[in-house]
């Protein structure tokens, strides 16, 4: 299925060149995949702290993605 995924900042380096990217921020991902599985599919290491926002809401690991979802993945910035 096709979803829109935007990966921000330091996490971008992991997803560069992925064959799941089929268009401008459009990604072909397996049906029924969870947020946690998506992170693995995108080859973002578990040790990288990331916030996954799906359709505007923070998604927990078990959140199942649907066709057409809008996904933002970014690391929290803790400095100040």
């Amino acid at each position: 299925m096709i979803v829109e995924i935007k990966v921000f900042s330091t996490l971008k380096r992991y997803v560069a060149g992925s064959d799941m990217l089929v268009g401008d921020n459009r990604w072909e991902i397996p049906e029924g995949i969870t947020a946690r599985e998506l992170g693995k599919k995108l080859k973002i290491p578990d040790k990288e702290i990331k916030i996954i926002i799906i359709n505007g809401r923070k998604a927990d690991d078990a959140h199942v993605l649907n066709e057409g979802d809008s996904v933002y993945i970014f690391p929290p910035l803790m400095g100040g």
Partner: protein
């Protein structure tokens, strides 16, 4: 405005104010009324380091009535690449005292309230009493959650900023209207310390936080509510992520408060 019982319209501007702030009073959506609103505002700046230095400088120069500075740390040599309120002669001094001295020199008409205390669940209700707006210039997640919870409970707007390296993020949280910090961020993470950072990164995000503060206090423009602005200076990319309330949020409940 949330958290305020003051009448913003009754404070007259002096002749000196009209000259001092003339270039911002010229801004059509701001004007003398906007300046009066800033004069009546009491803003709490949580952290007087990389973000807090430029935030407090620009808020003081803009003519905010009262600034409460909260930071329990002392100035260290390794702070000086970015914490522009502090210099070599200030090493070892409490940051809030070093900051208050410089800010008074920049604008003696602004009341500065320096508090060298920690933000804790116990101290936060008292710290927020009488505050109209809070600017998050902290350097750790744990204290941000405490600050967020205090602001949600008190109904006070919070402008969040965070940085690392050449990347920065900012969002404006208005309790009851927008997602709160706990709606968005994972609770169980903490970053590495010391974290890498160039001075220009907090300077950039701090400027945006002050823009949000001025608009919010004076009541014009569009705010960064319900979205996170993300700026990557290494690639010169700028992106916004839409944010919605988390209905299961244990701090704000995700609904109207």
């Amino acid at each position: 405005m949330a958290g305020s019982g003051k009448d913003f319209s009754t404070s007259p501007l002096t002749e000196e104010d009209l000259v001092r702030y003339s270039r911002q009073i010229l801004f059509p959506a701001f004007g003398e009324e906007g300046q009066r609103k800033l004069r009546q505002a009491h803003v709490l700046i949580a952290g007087v380091g990389g973000l807090g230095s430029p935030v407090s400088i620009y808020l003081a120069c803009a003519g905010i009535g009262k600034l409460t500075l909260v930071d329990s740390d002392a100035v260290e040599l390794s702070n000086l690449n970015r914490q522009i309120l502090h210099g070599e002669e200030d090493i070892g001094e409490q940051k809030v005292m070093s900051a208050a001295r410089k800010l008074k020199k920049l604008n003696s008409t602004v009341e500065i309230n320096p508090l060298a205390v920690r933000i804790t669940p116990e101290s936060i209700p008292g710290l927020l009493r009488g505050i109209n707006l809070v600017v998050d210039c902290l350097d750790n997640m744990k204290t941000r959650f405490i600050l967020n919870e205090g602001c949600v409970q008190a109904g006070i707007a919070l402008i969040h900023g965070g940085i690392a390296g050449m990347i920065g993020e900012i969002t404006t949280i208005i309790p009851g209207q927008t997602p709160c910090f706990a709606c968005i961020f994972p609770r169980d993470v903490e970053g590495k310390k010391p974290f890498p950072v160039f001075g220009c990164t907090p300077a950039l995000i701090a400027s945006l936080q002050v823009m949000e503060a001025i608009k919010l206090l004076a009541g014009f423009g569009e705010l960064l509510t319900g979205k996170m602005l993300y700026i990557n200076g290494e690639r010169m990319e700028c992106t916004q992520a839409p944010l919605q309330k988390n209905k299961a949020c244990r701090v704000c409940g995700g609904g109207n408060i």
